[in-house]
Point group: D2
Chain length 116, copies 4
């Protein structure tokens, strides 16, 4: 995925619709959170088992794919607007998480690092 | 960004910590939503002006970058777990949004497509 | 619970701290959502069984109680700021939900009313 | 508002529909978060000015009232399921917040208590 190319497409999309004025970082952070909840809503009453089989049903899988895409779109857009290099940030965060959660210390536990 | 490579790194990360059992789609959707809210929290009391200047302050920018990365990590992980091709989904969604929101119809308006 | 009395206490609390200027409906809706996610975070990696036993542990129960209170505080505050009578709205919504989801039709199913 | 009476009505509502099995604390915390986001969505593209005038429009005010009620319903239900006395928790939290944010120290600032 070429992030910068996608961000340029999304910028053009907003410009063509006169939407850039709505796309300040605060509004985009709200929109990202709202889309993450629409994704969550799909799973809200499902058992863990049913949730893990959701992609077996094509209609449900398509629904999940669209909500994942909505989250991704606002994520890319917000990163662009605040000038954050998303890929570098992901890689830095994985390294940082590795230090916060050493494998041998946390194995099999879901506790937060502040509890160690 | 090579999405599949990143997803493989995240799978190894979870496996090394015995965390895969926690990473069902329902839990991952919750985690994604929780991280999106941590990002939102940064902006919650800021004026639109202050929010749009957030990257001027290095500490704040770094904080935003880390929360963006957390959202991205759970997004990549959830897409992987449900077998959704994230890049194809984003591209399909941009096309669909273009059809739902024709530029000439919606110019300068933030109304939802259901209101047209 | 005397809602109006609590809302007056919360208004005084904000006034005493010069916080009323931050408490527009948009910011309060963000804060409410952020607090709801902090509550959600408590349950995010728990099994359904462990979640249903959370109140057996006094520290966890206290944590849940505080996050529930945070959600309630912003809910009361937002209702006050937009002039909505919360109690009347709850009662009206229960009646409306009863019409959307007739007991005999939906028994034992978690489908959304739009699916019937 | 008689909280216990409302909680009993909501319990009967769930029982009559065979929904109690879906209403574990984890699912209710998800539902609460999803409803808080539906409320947030109303404000997402509004300016602070437009948001503060939302109740001037009867249709919008009714929409806000219904989403506030949905949040309240899941809040009451979750508090009931974990055995938390919501009113006592709110009062305890207001006192605790008063200690964390002394009026003379924080006047006019929206900083988090951890920053003082």
């Amino acid at each position: 995925m070429d992030i910068k190319a996608l961000q340029a497409v999304l910028q053009d999309f907003a410009d063509a619709r006169g939407w850039d004025k709505f796309h300040g970082p605060k509004n985009l952070a709200m929109a990202l959170s709202v889309e993450a909840s629409e994704l969550l809503e799909i799973f809200q009453w499902l058992s863990d088992d049913a949730a893990s089989r959701i992609a077996d049903d094509e209609v449900s899988k398509q629904h999940v794919a669209e909500e994942l895409a909505d989250v991704a779109i606002y994520l890319l857009r917000l990163a662009d607007k605040v000038g954050v290099d998303l890929e570098a940030s992901i890689q830095a965060k994985i390294i940082k998480n590795g230090e916060k959660y050493p494998a041998e210390l946390v194995y099999g536990s879901a506790k937060k690092y502040t509890e160690y």
